[in-house]
């Protein structure tokens, strides 16, 4: 069988291409000229022009009142909203993550009832819009007017109006963390699944209990896989908190909405909100990269924790017999 060859270097091609034909005569020090790409600077210039135009249009527009933006950027109502937004994000994320770990372990359990419940939960909370869930918890009092605990024979132990306990703030935290748990559970589960089975076997073979194996061996390795998508989740959460305006949640977005519904300075105040969200998101990426470095340490191939010379392996072939029972 004949092996097909490319025709590039065949005789006809050489004849067409004078430089290739001169192959053997290429001087040793012939200077190399990189291929020119003249359209690159043109494309870059065009992009800059479009951006500059958009920015200019925005700034010269009378609706974008820079004085209003500066006035509200650090106003009390804004700062209080920022505080609530950060609080909601932190609490919902922490609670969501705790729920996620439990859900992921239930999902991975051998017990089909536990894993079924975890699946059902994820299906329900991922399958309905977060807006619907927020409103549901916000208006919980409509179909459960009272939260009460009564036992037969003892009578009512306590009873409180739902609206008193489930304030908009509590409703927001409930909705956000229950929803977050469903999403993060899948992330945690994929992290756990990324740790090879052999790691667990090795841990068990040195006498670790299941719990210790999970805590000392599985989780520290799973975290490496979990952090990047979790960083995404935190950023998403920060912005999703703006939805609590539908149940009067007093976060950044709600507060500014209240202001512009009276002053009609919609665009400047939305810009104020955007500036704050951008700022908070930018700050949040710092701990993420720190965590990634912290847990990725063992994979940094070139750097042992403390540098040692590589030549020391020469002893390898001669184990010291006498030291063993020392």
């Amino acid at each position: 069988m004949e092996i097909e060859r490319s025709s590039v270097f065949s005789q006809p091609a050489l004849k067409q291409n004078a430089r290739l034909a001169a192959g053997p005569n290429v001087p040793d020090d012939a200077p190399l000229v990189p291929r020119r790409r003249p359209w690159m600077p043109v494309a870059a210039a065009a992009c800059v022009a479009v951006l500059a135009f958009a920015l200019w249009k925005l700034l010269e527009n009378p609706v974008v009142d820079q004085d209003v933006i500066l006035e509200y950027l650090f106003k009390d109502v804004t700062l209080r909203g920022v505080g609530v937004t950060l609080f909601l994000t932190t609490v919902s994320m922490a609670a969501g993550l705790a729920g996620a770990v439990v859900l992921a372990m239930m999902h991975l359990s051998d017990n089909s009832v536990l894993s079924g419940i975890a699946r059902l939960y994820t299906w329900l909370f991922r399958g309905t819009p977060i807006l619907v869930q927020l409103i549901f918890w916000g208006y919980l009092g409509i179909f459960i007017p009272e939260l009460s605990l009564s036992l037969p024979g003892i009578g009512t132990i306590f009873s409180v109006p739902t609206a008193q306990v489930v304030t908009p703030m509590v409703a927001a935290m409930l909705a956000l963390s229950l929803n977050e748990a469903a999403y993060s559970a899948e992330i945690v589960r994929s992290g756990i699944l990324s740790v090879p089975r052999g790691q667990v076997e090795a841990a068990r073979s040195v006498g670790m209990t299941r719990f210790r194996t999970f805590r000392r061996v599985v989780m520290p390795q799973a975290i490496r896989v979990i952090i990047p998508p979790m960083g995404n989740e935190v950023i998403l959460m920060l912005k999703t908190t703006s939805l609590v305006s539908v149940i009067a949640g007093a976060d950044l977005m709600t507060n500014l909405q209240h202001v512009y519904s009276q002053t009609f300075q919609v665009i400047p105040l939305l810009i104020v909100a955007s500036i704050w969200y951008l700022f908070m998101v930018s700050i949040l990426t710092i701990p993420q990269s720190w965590l990634e470095r912290r847990f990725g340490q063992s994979l940094a191939r070139s750097q042992p924790r403390r540098r040692k010379s590589r030549s020391s392996d020469s002893k390898a072939g001669k184990p010291a017999l006498s030291d063993k029972r020392g």
């Binding site: 076997e201 994979l299 020391s312 390898a316």
Partner: protein, 255 residues
């Protein structure tokens, strides 16, 4: 017949679906004995080894180590599977070395070795570290304590894995094809460490394809095929003058 075996496998049976991997295996191993388990792949030797520390659950029969059923406790003539904590306690005494090393990837070599003694045996850190450095020295990697597994060659990782198992002061060491995943030039270092251990009187059960090692170091060679022990005896006899056709066939193919 061994009078007082350290490890005693009794009519151990295990199948995956319809495939019988272990068919009523019985095997006694004396304290200090070094036994090589050889045989074609799928013969059940790795499964047998994994049953010895209950990483695999058998269908019937049992493994006794120092007279205790591994993974079970005897109550009213029945073997009840141990709860997690008791099982973990039992495994302290049974060291295992895996084909794929399975070093904890997020810990340095030293941390891998001291994790068990500190976290499981609750020994004081200073004492454990000193012992660990002796072990590192024993496996010839004294200067590699602070390297992560990803920074070590396969042979170095396997030697760390052996040190990790030894740090628990096990009564018996199980080796599941410890050199099969290694480049040929790295096999020697690992075998050298195992030879040292054998010389120190450690009880070892080694699933291996290294016939040379089995011949020189092991006290007994057990040849398995299709879930049964076909033939066993002194290495010289089994490897040089096998009685069974299957053993002869296997040895012809791998030598």
């Amino acid at each position: 017949m061994i009078a007082n075996p350290l490890v005693s496998v009794r009519t151990l049976t295990k199948s995956y679906g319809h495939k019988v991997v272990l068919n009523r295996i019985s095997l006694d191993i004396a304290e200090g004995e070094v036994v090589a388990l050889i045989g074609p792949s799928g013969s059940g030797k790795s499964t047998l080894l994994r049953c010895m520390n209950h990483l695999e659950r058998q269908d019937s029969g049992c493994v006794l180590v120092a007279g205790e059923p591994v993974g079970y406790s005897l109550k009213n003539g029945e073997l009840h599977e141990l709860p997690d904590r008791a099982l973990s306690y039992q495994r302290r005494g049974i060291g295992m070395v895996f084909q794929g090393f399975n070093l904890f990837q997020h810990m340095t070599a030293l941390e891998n070795i001291i994790e068990g003694p500190i976290g499981v045996l609750k020994l004081p850190r200073a004492e454990v570290e000193e012992k660990a450095r002796h072990l590192l020295d024993l496996v010839g990697l004294a200067d590699w304590a602070d390297h992560y597994p990803s920074q070590l060659s396969g042979g170095q990782q396997q030697r760390i894995a052996i040190a990790r198992a030894l740090a628990m002061r096990p009564r018996v060491m199980l080796f599941d094809e410890p050199t099969s995943a290694l480049d040929p030039e790295l096999v020697g270092d690992v075998l050298e460490v195992m030879r040292t251990l054998a010389g120190e009187g450690m009880t070892m059960i080694v699933v291996t394809h290294e016939i040379g090692f089995a011949r020189e170091v092991c006290d007994r060679v057990v040849f398995m095929a299709d879930g049964e022990i076909v033939e066993q005896g002194e290495p010289g006899q089994v490897l040089s003058a096998p009685v069974h056709e299957r053993t002869r066939d296997f040895l012809r193919r791998i030598l």
